[in-house]
């Protein structure tokens, strides 16, 4: 199956700092999504971005499909940004979203 690798696995930031999370994948995809899992377990959709660049407030994402990677940028981080960030992809012929192992982010005051 398709491999999804996220880095770094863990990240600690001070409030106000910026960060970049990376997702590498091993095959062509028709779906790439970034999620934030909050402390209660809810998976919150951040971006649907199989290619290109999108921005939503302090968050932005870029996917370079030809090079099989995606980046999630968090600017001016806040304590509420803490949690686990997942990248998930789906192959061109399939239904399953294949998840990476996530990046665990802790933002300290």
């Amino acid at each position: 199956g398709i491999q999804v690798e996220q880095s770094p696995p863990d990240l600690i930031l001070q409030e106000g700092a910026n960060s970049t999370l990376r997702c590498n994948f091993s095959d062509s995809v028709n779906n790439l999504q970034w999620f934030h899992q909050n402390p209660w377990g809810q998976l919150i959709n951040l971006f649907y971005i199989p290619s290109g660049t999108k921005q939503n407030g302090r968050l932005s994402a870029t996917t370079v499909a030809t090079e099989r990677y995606s980046l999630l940028y968090i600017s001016s981080s806040q304590t509420t940004d803490s949690g686990v960030y997942f990248c998930a992809v789906r192959r061109n012929s399939g239904y399953a979203l294949n998840f990476g192992k996530g990046t665990s982010l802790l933002v300290t005051p």
Partner: protein
């Protein structure tokens, strides 16, 4: 707008007991529906998906089964739970390739 419900939110069941988890979606018709499990340590794994009423595909052979009795209802079941069935179960629906997740059911098998 579309919403997805799951219940119960938490469940503690003894080994060997049956299981029924329910997921319902509002505000959409004929969605693709999915059951995922998240074990401790983060990764999510697809268990079942359905593209229509009565149509179920299994991704991983195991102790669980799924059914879709109505268009917007997806049920995860087991006749006899194992300790390894513990985990966080998430239902998802899909529109235009993007998947959205429900709040999840945290299952502990004792």
């Amino acid at each position: 707008s579309q919403t997805i419900h799951q219940w119960p939110a938490t469940l503690v069941q003894p080994v060997g007991s049956p299981l029924s988890l329910e997921c319902t979606v509002e505000g959409t018709s004929n969605p693709n529906l999915y059951w995922y499990r998240q074990a401790a340590g983060r990764g999510l794994q697809l268990l079942f998906y359905s593209v229509g009423i009565g149509q179920i595909s299994s991704e991983v052979p195991q102790n669980l089964s799924a059914s879709r009795p109505q268009d917007r209802q997806f049920i995860l079941s087991s006749k006899k739970l194992l300790l390894s069935d513990s985990g966080f179960y998430l239902c998802a629906w899909e529109t235009s390739y993007e998947q959205y997740f429900g709040p999840g059911t945290r299952l502990t098998v004792t």
